[in-house]
Amino acid sequence: MQTNNPLGVGAAVVITLPTNVTISGGSCNISASLSSTSSLSSGIACNANGQTINITNISSTILAANTTITLNISGITNPAITKATNTFSYQTYYGTG
């Protein structure tokens, strides 16, 4: 995703999966990268609850607008049939709260 606005230290992203795409609850495995590579936090964390995935503490410095955030989250299960899913959505948060 590419940010429209700046994000602060400890920025977070919340991703909401469509109902027929699932992930086990609890902590999830994540790897991440930023277009401003030096800003990536070593303490990034991922937690799933139902259809919601919270990725916290992404950045160690303020991220400028138009930063590209790439998140690779494993353990997400595709739908059983080849029908297009409903919409994935996400929100970015400036800091931890």
């Binding site: 995703m1 940010t3 429209n4 606005n5 700046p6 994000l7 977070a12 919340v14 469509p18 795409v21 919270n54 595709n78 739908p79 059983a80 049939i81 080849t82 029908k83 297009a84 899913t85 409903n86 919409t87 994935f88 959505s89 996400y90 929100q91 970015t92 948060y93 400036y94 931890t96 709260g97």
Partner: protein, 199 residues
């Protein structure tokens, strides 16, 4: 968390999965008669790899020329229910393939359930060129779930013998002479524009 900075509301982010390709050993085909251009009974054996949906569909994809007689019917047994049952069959042919669609009335079936499907009156391919048969399973609303590798299963016919006679059209059979031979061939089936004759 409250007050998001950005969100994805201006995008439509969706995803369409691909069908699972089953192992080659999960699909097999046998038939009663292996002669080309003969209508015969085919038996398709399919082992469910993940799951088979309630009231699911199995589509068998054959070469276009392997047509299904209007008199064809289909029956099946399951490893979990060996009572022979009929299954609805429809057939659709286009320029590249002939699809046999079988619509089942079952509940959801688990992995490793074995379907044994018998379809009568399918026309064998016209030559002994290897042909491929593919299986695709779908949900009741037509979305694919599992499929066999398109090239994984092939059949070869035992083509009927062609009869051939040869005669020289010159009475002078002395060695070293150049003479003409005539070959007469009776083919076992129709010849197509791309077929060849080797002597």
């Amino acid at each position: 968390m409250t007050n998001p900075v950005d969100d994805s509301s201006t995008y439509s982010l969706t995803m369409t999965p691909s069908a699972i390709t089953i192992p080659n050993s999960y699909f097999a085909v046998t038939r009663a008669d292996t002669t080309n251009m003969k209508y015969t009974t085919y038996t398709f054996t399919y082992r469910v790899f993940t799951s088979f949906p309630a009231n699911g569909i199995i589509t068998l994809v054959l070469p276009t020329s392997m047509i299904v007689s209007s008199a064809a019917n289909a029956t099946y047994t399951l490893s979990s229910n060996t009572t022979n049952q009929t299954v609805s069959i429809t057939n659709a042919t286009n320029s590249t393939s002939n699809s046999i669609m079988l619509t089942f009335t079952t509940g959801t079936l688990p992995a490793n359930t074995i379907f044994t499907i018998v379809v009568s009156n399918i026309l064998n391919y016209y030559s002994y060129k290897p042909i491929n048969i593919q299986l695709i399973t779908s949900s009741s609303d037509g979305f694919a779930i599992e499929q066999s590798n398109a090239g994984a299963f092939s059949l070869i016919n035992d083509i009927s013998d062609a009869t051939i006679t040869a005669s020289d059209s010159n009475t002078n059979t002395m060695n070293g002479n150049s003479i003409a031979y005539s070959f007469a061939i009776r083919t076992p089936s129709v010849l197509y524009s791309t077929d060849m004759v080797s002597i």
